[in-house]
């Protein structure tokens, strides 16, 4: 039995490589100064989806919500073996909190499912820019589907039942649930396969419409808007014919109710952002000598820190 697997992926700033330059004076983060990467746990979700497709047959559709640059992670997904990729991009989706994001993603999954019913949605447990882990359970709730979080492996999919092993933090459990459902995958999930050289050659030309428009604007700055538009259409049609046009959807394409999207659709508001300041009050430098260290230990015993 073949399955339609949808993977939700996110392009994130590499927060592990944050440096002084990435922080502005006002304490906000300059995202442009950070390299953008494939959210690490989403790669494990993608790998699990690819393995299930290889085992049982079916298709893997990858969806990413973000600016046109997010096409990078979609191309990466296609290079690793995904069958189809969709970019959800719309300025009206900016400033969405986790609830609004989950609403938008659920609309996108429903739209995909209208063409081919979706059996399983896979996501990374959490994204490293926010670390909230909230979007997947909220998306499952919006779809009215069961959720299985912190999955490390799927033992079997048989008919309309799935059996998975999940990490509970205090051990692990094996659970069985119905399809369709949503699973979140941790970094304990299967190791992501590298992109195949053959697929890289095939996929490297894949673009979404917004990227084509950017390229056309850069290459034909003197052309009229109409001429640019015609060129975009021409290039898009050429890519489409070869199967290299990455689908690009707006909130209208997924029939999202704008009241539930973006800033208006987000109950939570950021009131203040502060950069982390090292505090260390009353710092004492201790020489690496027996006497100085004995004095320090003595102080720690005196103030009941030790003992």
């Amino acid at each position: 039995m073949a399955y339609h697997l949808v993977v939700l992926v996110k392009q994130v700033p590499d927060t592990k490589r944050i440096t002084g330059e990435a922080m502005r004076e006002d304490g906000t983060v300059n995202r442009a100064a950070l390299p953008a990467i494939f959210n690490p746990e989403d790669l494990h979700a993608l790998e699990l989806a690819l393995e299930l497709r290889d085992r049982y047959g079916g298709r893997v559709t990858v969806i990413s919500m973000g600016p046109p640059q997010a096409c990078e992670v979609l191309r990466d997904s296609l290079e690793r073996g995904a069958d189809d990729a969709i970019l959800l991009t719309d300025r009206r989706a900016a400033a969405s909190d986790t609830l609004a994001t989950s609403y938008i993603l659920s609309c996108a999954i429903r739209t995909v499912a209208r063409q081919t019913p979706v059996d399983l949605v896979l996501c990374g447990r959490q994204a490293i820019d926010g670390d909230t882990a909230q979007v997947p359970p909220q998306t499952a709730e919006k779809l009215g589907w069961p959720q299985i979080t912190y999955v490390e492996s799927v033992e079997e999919v048989a008919g309309r039942r799935l059996r998975a092993k999940r990490n509970t933090g205090a051990g692990w459990e094996r659970v069985e649930g119905p399809l369709p459902c949503l699973v979140t995958v941790t970094d304990g999930g299967p190791h992501p396969r590298p992109a195949s050289a053959k697929r890289i050659m095939a996929v490297k030309r894949a673009r979404c419409r917004a990227e084509i428009a950017q390229a056309v604007a850069a290459e034909m700055p003197a052309a009229t808007p109409e001429a640019q538009k015609a060129e975009v259409e021409k290039r898009a049609a050429a890519l489409q014919a070869r199967g290299f046009l990455i689908k690009q959807w707006t909130l209208d394409d997924i029939q999202a109710d704008l009241a539930w999207c973006g800033r208006d659709g987000s109950p939570t508001k950021v009131k203040r952002i502060q950069s982390v300041i090292l505090k260390g009050s009353g710092f004492k430098k201790i020489e690496a000598t027996g006497d100085a260290i004995a004095t320090m230990v003595h102080e720690l015993i005196e103030d009941h820190t030790i003992g």
């Binding site: 927060t15 983060v29 609830l99 820019d129 909230t132 933090g169 260390g280 009050s281 710092f283 230990v297």
Partner: protein, 342 residues
Amino acid sequence: MIEANRQGDVWVVAEQNDGELHDVGLELLSKGRKLATELGVHLTAVVMGAKVDAHAKKLVQYGADRVLAAEHELLAHYQTQPFAKVVIGLLAQHRPQIVLFGATPVGRDLAPRVASALRAGLTADCTDLDIGEHTEPGSNHKYEKLLYQIRPAFGGNIIATIVNPERWPQMATVREGVMPMLEPDTSRRGEIVLMRPELTAEDAVLNVLESVHAEKRVNLKGSRTIVAGGAGVGSKENFRLLWDLANAMGGAVGASRAAVDSGWIHKDHQVGQTGVTVRPALYVAVGISGAVQHRAGMSEAKKIVAINTDPNAPIFGVAHYGIVGDLNRVIPMMIDAIKKRV
């Protein structure tokens, strides 16, 4: 959506796993107590399980004015949907103004499911909570006594304060170990409401086939002193010295992610954003450079001693005592000094 109830109570959803009450619920009661007092409302705890009356009594001793104790055999072992159904039903019925969950694997699975169903805001992994006013930019509408939900973001590089002005209840998950627990007061009296929620087998959509509890190898949260090592320790053999120092002080051994990833010590020992958050009396950081992800898990220690060969390591920025030197020389001197005490 439920209508905002500006006079609603403060709620803590206390977690129990297979008969054991989780510490984070008790930690949240101490913070919830303060918030409720400031708002002039009551503090309610919710606990769900097959048999929870003993937990309910304990929650009163830790500060709850009222405990809603939901007992049902389908709540014996955690799974998302039946638990979410019970919480959603209680929230719609009682309309509290604030609902707090522990940011445990269970809390982070349950709270977003509940918040989504109520279309309410939810902030993840808070490290602090406060009450304050807020003026909404644009409308200039002023709100009194909102919950400030304070959390690290961007890998711990920034601290964000989040508010939820309209779509209540104001919900947050709160990290374990960041709120100090109150001493229980056995003479405290509170109302305990035992209830049997309406659940059917269809609510439990998952079958839990097997559940294995793997005890953590170390109780870092409960240790008064922690000796932790990072990449600078250099080898598994050198970690031996850290164990010796910890033993001399009756403490535990912790580690940074770099040391865990190098295979020198088990993941259960990891302190920091992806490990545990600790607030011991003494934290000795050995060969730990002090990346924000690590500092997020230990900067609340009362005293921090940093030992590092690099005088510019960021760890010295949070330390109370800093020793620039080789751990193979410094640690034996410390052990020696501790053994010679009194």
